[in-house]
């Protein structure tokens, strides 16, 4: 699987997981739009114990 496909799949998965109310509320609370750059979200998650 190419990097582009991997990124696309990761993007789709992050979009899907962001559709859960718990996460969407958190994102809304912090005024983060998952559509802007979903990969950014996964990068945030890479950080340990990230607090937004």
């Amino acid at each position: 699987m190419s990097n582009i496909e991997t990124n696309e799949n990761l993007r789709a998965l992050v979009k899907w997981i962001c559709s859960f109310p718990v996460l969407s509320k958190q994102l809304k609370k912090h005024q983060i739009d998952a559509d802007d750059n979903p990969l950014l979200l996964s990068e945030w998650l890479d950080k340990k114990d990230v607090s937004l």
Partner: protein
């Protein structure tokens, strides 16, 4: 925290997935669930790498591959044994981006393929006994039940706009093409194409056919036995019939071919029957799913209406709560003010007595002040008089200073005046003496005047008498010569 939210989502998926398992074996999983809940709490409580936690939670081995972890989450969410499966699928459907949906479906299908490969490797070591047995075995051995995979395939067709419901059309003859990896069903009457799972009943039939094809060479036969484009004709050499062993073997092989053809026909019939059954089952499943989705959409609508209603009520209640809170705040403030005022009243009551005494004192002071007002006027007058006196005094002092050189003159004048007075007294005495003498002289003069008067009168009288006597003498003869001598 975002990480804890994702962990909550993962825990929710795992919980929903494990709930259905619990229904089957409640007793065996009761302790496991307790352990899982404890583990979940510890996950949420402590920090650390979220992907490792997610990997532990999902019980996957991909602790460093977030794509695989999220894929396993997705797979678990859309699996048949997940009780919230439809809600999760609904969330995928709610995503408006078709590429995202497509990628998610690719991920789901990719995972299915992986499972199929695993399953295939297992199955190849097992003798294929019968269609029913193999189907049953595949159902038992697969981590995802057959209907789960088929329904997911139908779901994939829903997503991609496939027309699987048209399968009931008799014109849509299903063609099966096989390759080494998978099978695909394609409908000639529509453009739909569906990848068949290896754990479906077709897989075992196709495996059987493929095993036999491999035994006799590729493309010796096809499912329909006639019209395959890949079909090759077996060309037999003359030596093939001359050799007795070969002939015997050929006969055996021909018998086997006949038997295989019969089997093939039977299998073909079974495949057709299975296809029809599959189509019917798929139709039923689709209808059921359509009804479920309809019910679900109605429920979602009802839920949204109720949610809006409750949200409106909640807003109203919040507003009321805010108002009540404000009111309570005002009341609390008023209470505080009241208590403060009560304290002030207590203080003022204590001061009231002081006020009465002070009022009396004030009254007295006023009276005194009124008295002092007259005094004040008098004082003002006195002050004015004092100022005038001071001015007068100053003026006099100034005059005094001017009169100081004249004082000596005054003294000399005073001496002179005393001397003059003394002399005056002496003069007065002399004057008195002179007046007395003058009076004496006047008296004497008067006496003398009287005497003169008397003498003059007497002279007159005597003159008269003499005249008379001279007149009488003249009458008597020259008596006059005698009287002239007296004058």
């Amino acid at each position: 925290m975002l990480s804890s939210a994702i962990l909550q989502v993962a825990a929710e998926i795992v919980q929903n997935s494990s709930k259905s398992n619990e229904e089957g074996s409640k007793s065996s999983h009761a302790t496991a669930q307790g352990d899982a809940s404890i583990r979940k709490e510890s996950y949420f409580a402590s920090g650390g790498d979220i992907w490792k936690k997610l990997s532990d939670l999902m019980e996957t081995t991909y602790s460093d591959d977030k794509l695989q972890i999220l894929s396993s989450m997705l797979r678990m969410a859309v699996a048949e044994n997940c009780i919230m499966r439809e809600a999760y699928i609904g969330r995928i459907l709610e995503i408006n981006q078709s590429d995202v949906q497509r990628n998610l479906m690719i991920i789901i299908e990719g995972s299915i393929d992986k499972d199929d490969n695993t399953l295939n490797s297992d199955e190849e070591s097992i003798d294929i006994q019968s269609d029913e047995e193999s189907t049953h075995r595949s159902e038992m051995s697969s981590p995802h039940p057959i209907n789960s995979m088929n329904s997911m395939t139908c779901f994939a067709m829903d997503l991609w706009g496939g027309k699987s419901k048209d399968n009931d059309d008799n014109k849509n003859k299903l063609e099966i093409s096989n390759n080494q990896d998978d099978y695909s069903l394609s409908s000639s009457g529509s453009e739909s194409s569906v990848s068949l799972n290896r754990n479906s009943p077709f897989h075992h039939k196709m495996a059987k056919v493929r095993t036999r094809n491999e035994a006799f060479g590729n493309d010796v036969t096809s499912l329909d036995g006639s019209n395959s484009p890949n079909r090759k004709r077996i060309s037999l050499k003359p030596s093939f019939f001359n050799d007795p062993h070969q002939t015997q073997r050929n006969n055996i092989l021909l018998d086997q071919i006949k038997a295989l053809r019969n089997d093939n026909e039977a299998l073909k019939q079974q495949v057709v029957n299975a296809e029809q059954a599959e189509v019917e089952r798929t139709d039923n499943e689709m209808k059921r799913r359509a009804e479920d989705i309809k019910k679900e959409s109605q429920a979602i609508k009802r839920e949204s209406i109720m949610r809006e209603k409750y949200e409106a009520e909640l807003k109203e209640l919040k507003k009321r709560l805010e108002k009540e809170t404000d009111h309570n705040g005002q009341l609390a403030e008023a209470k505080e003010k009241l208590s403060e005022l009560q304290d002030e009243i207590d203080v003022l009551q204590h001061c009231k007595q002081k006020l009465s005494t002070s009022e009396d004192q004030l009254h007295k002071c006023r009276l005194k002040l009124e008295e002092f007002s007259d005094l004040k006027e008098a004082l003002i007058k006195e002050e004015e008089a004092h100022s005038k006196a001071v001015e007068r005094c100053l003026e006099l002092e100034n005059n005094l200073t001017t009169l100081q050189p004249l004082q000596k003159q005054v003294e000399s004048y005073r001496v002179r005046s005393t001397e003059a007075e003394f002399k005056l007294a002496e003069c007065e005495d002399q004057l008195a003496k002179m007046s007395t003498t003058n009076k004496d002289i006047m008296k004497k003069n008067k006496i003398l005047e009287d005497l003169s008067h008397f003498e003059s009168s007497e002279k007159e009288e005597m003159k008269q008498i003499l005249l008379n006597q001279s007149a009488t003498n003249n009458d008597f003869g020259e008596a006059s010569g005698l009287g002239e001598g007296v004058r």
